[in-house]
């Protein structure tokens, strides 16, 4: 009986613990800080907390302090929906940053649209802003921009026949679809179309088939570790065809996994954060990227990641809109839509009523891996 009482006491204590909140400009955020997409959510959360501290140290927005209400969705769409409702109804936020993944964003989208709260997603899926909805925005560049960057470069080198090797998850499926459409649009030939599973450890079979099709270039679309395996297999099979990777592997981790030798000569479109120290002084983003990386290193002791940049841009877009138009739902929404040449981590944003992403080809730099480091080409 005493044990029982103790158990119930613990439960009751936990349930009764409550939190008190102050009265500042409240911005909600949904990040998958834990779970399979934690690699996205953690830098996003860190970045947002850092930015809020920074802006409050400077006196807030128009004298009003900013508060971020951040919840962890664990990558679960159901939880994301519940927490979005919580942010809107209980925390009364003016806008929501996130969620981190496309699935969660698509789940949250109907809720924020119904409640008319601006949502600035940190997920890349093209479905989020195409077709455009008045209340939904996103900061990561669309996959087809990265694809177009690759194809433009390839065409300038006279390559006409392409082989696709894509991973069978959301990122790969979207990339495959976009690339096929782009190839058709540009009148280029698709000679091989192979896929691999996210956890596969050998792609020799697919690459052998691709070699038989004799393409001018191979485009591999995936996130680690698959592309690293592909890179090693290409080297092992002695395939000399140029190999392009997606922006999904634009981190040093990829070179590490593939090995400096095998990765030599691989080309990919990288977000500018990956190569910020190699950008010319004249690049509009150079200064901002340097400062972001330095601040992030100082606060968390690791280098800043592209993913954290998504939250950075979302926050700056929202603050910019509040400064311009005010914090009312419609004011904020139209403010977001009016963002013009706003320099961020992912690129320079120019939104309009028909474009709720606002990034163009300048968001990426084509890089070639040389001696284990990135080198800007073109």
């Amino acid at each position: 009986m005493r044990r029982l009482a103790a158990t119930w006491m613990v439960i009751c204590f936990v349930l009764s613990a409550g939190a008190a909140l102050a009265e500042p400009l409240r911005i909600g955020a949904l990040f998958s800080v834990t779970g399979p997409a934690a690699f996205l959510g953690e830098p996003e959360k860190n970045t947002l907390e850092m930015l809020v501290k920074e802006i409050n140290a400077k006196g807030g927005v128009k004298g009003q302090p900013v508060e971020a209400v951040i919840y962890d969705t664990t990558g679960d769409p159901t939880k994301a929906v519940q927490l979005a409702t919580k942010l809107i109804k209980d925390d009364k936020v003016v806008a929501i940053i996130g969620p981190s993944t496309t699935g969660e964003t698509m789940a949250v989208k109907p809720v924020t649209e119904k409640e008319q709260i601006p949502l600035v997603s940190c997920a890349a899926g093209i479905k989020i802003t195409d077709p455009v909805n008045a209340w939904t925005f996103k900061t990561p560049a669309n996959d087809h921009i990265a694809g177009e960057k690759i194809l433009n470069y390839a065409v300038s080198k006279g390559q006409k026949n392409f082989a696709l090797l894509t991973v069978s998850d959301g990122f790969g499926a979207s990339g495959r679809e976009q690339l096929k459409a782009l190839l058709a649009k540009k009148g280029l030939a698709l000679v091989a179309d192979e896929t691999f599973g996210p956890k596969d450890t050998d792609m020799t079979a697919q690459l052998t088939k691709i070699r038989a099709a004799n393409p001018d270039a191979i485009i591999c679309w995936g996130t680690n570790p698959g592309p690293a395996v592909v890179t090693r297999n290409v080297k092992q099979l002695g395939i000399k065809t140029p190999l392009y990777m997606s922006h999904g592997v634009a981190s040093k981790k990829y070179i590490e996994l593939a090995g400096v030798d095998a990765a030599e000569g691989v080309m990919l479109p990288a977000g500018k954060l990956a190569v910020f120290d190699k950008l010319p002084e004249t690049d509009p983003q150079a200064k901002l990227l340097k400062e972001y990386d330095a601040a992030y290193r100082k606060a968390y002791g690791v280098e800043a990641s592209t993913f954290g940049g998504y939250a950075y841009d979302a926050f700056q877009l929202i603050i910019g809109a509040v400064q311009k138009n005010g914090a009312g739902a419609e004011q904020l929404r139209s403010g977001l839509e009016q963002a013009s040449k706003m320099v961020g981590v992912s690129g320079s944003f120019t939104m309009s009523s028909s474009d709720h992403n606002g990034l163009d080809l300048s968001a990426f730099e084509m890089v070639r891996i040389t001696a284990g480091d990135w080198a800007i080409i073109q």
Binding site: M1, R3, L4, A6, T7, W8, V10, I11, V14, L15, A17, G18, A19, T34, Y71, G75, D76, P77, T78, K79, V81, Q82, T85, K86, K89, D90, T102, G103, M106, A107, K109, P110, K114, G125, K127, S168, D169, G170, A173, S174
Partner: protein, 321 residues
């Protein structure tokens, strides 16, 4: 039986009165999911708690219900209620067919087989991109409605989901009080003995498996129509395990226990948010403490509490006299 019905009526009255006591908002939204999870937990409890057959593939039936409803209504423009009924029948048929070979297995082997089934369905939802939308999900599922009444607010969804959940609980209470319920418990204790006494164990197991699948499928349809977006990650192996936890924490073989388990596991993480980064640690600790001290589930805690109160009562009455 009458006592059971009174108990159920009391419970139903409380469940339907809950929205009046809270100010709407977020909690109500979470309670809608408690209702859906209750249906799922009751379904699994019929199988695990009464018939003693484990299933690690419940999320698959849940997912099939959600996707069939979603696809039939969105892609093919069916009426949601027709789609729901057709989905339930299709899933019931599937469960009935696979039930015979699967339920021949026992213990770990049964766990493996149901786990395998769950993973197959998960892979199909993920890879059949043209139909299911693949890993990035399926959006634009319409909401439910009857005539001019559209279940578009949390309050309306609450009543919709809880009416279904209560019907499922009533069915389960009835089932367990009946001859079939007794036969199921007999199978749980000793299948051989049950067979010797003339219970058609094989068919009965398949029937309860089918019943459990159909309920899960209905819960899935409700999920699809209330959230209006579905993606495979909701219906993975992880969720099957979560359901198992709900049933065990709530109390094996107790219908109300399943509801308690579903409520606790759905609500607890929300209340624990005040612990910020440590919420998962506290959550885990609470689960360990509960299974250590209340091995029979939360429902056992309530029974002990009730027994304690009753023991105190005559004592006080005696002092007064």
């Amino acid at each position: 039986m009458r006592r059971e019905l009174i108990k159920f009526a009391l419970f139903a009255a409380v469940a339907l009165a809950v929205p009046a006591t809270i100010k709407g908002g977020y909690l109500l939204n979470v309670l809608v999911f408690v209702g859906i999870n209750t249906m799922l937990a009751v379904a699994l409890n019929l199988l695990l708690g009464f018939a003693g057959q484990i299933s690690l593939g419940q999320a698959a039936f849940y997912g099939l219900g959600a996707y069939l409803s979603g696809i039939l209504t969105t892609t093919y423009g069916w009426n949601p209620w027709t789609a729901m009924a057709v989905a339930a029948m299709a899933v019931g048929l599937l469960a009935f067919v696979i039930g015979f070979p699967i339920l021949k297995l026992k213990g770990h082997y049964l766990a493996m087989a149901t786990l395998g089934f769950g993973i197959i369905i998960y892979i199909v939802l993920n890879e059949y991109v043209d139909v299911t939308g693949g890993p990035s999900g399926f959006s634009g599922v319409p909401g439910l409605g009857i005539g001019n009444l559209h279940f578009d607010s949390d309050l309306k969804s609450y009543y919709l989901v809880w009416t279904m959940a209560l019907l499922v609980m009533l069915l389960a209470v009835n089932l367990t009080q009946s001859r079939i319920g007794r036969a199921l418990r007999a199978i749980h204790d000793s299948e051989v003995a049950a067979r010797v006494l003339g219970v058609n164990a094989r068919l009965l197991k398949v029937q309860v498996f089918t019943c459990s699948a159909v309920i899960s499928c209905l819960a899935g349809s409700l999920y699809a129509h209330t959230v209006t977006f579905i993606s495979p990650s909701t219906f993975g192996f992880h969720f099957s395990v979560e359901l198992l936890t709900m049933v065990i924490i709530g109390g094996l073989g107790s219908i109300y226990g399943s509801c308690l388990g579903a409520a606790l596991l759905t609500l607890l993480p929300e209340f624990l948010r005040t612990f910020q980064d440590y919420d998962i640690v506290v959550y885990g600790l609470l689960l360990i403490v509960m299974t250590m001290f209340l091995p029979g589930g939360l429902v056992q805690g309530f029974e002990m509490l009730w027994a304690g109160i009753r023991r105190l009562w005559p004592g006080r009455a005696g002092q007064d006299a």
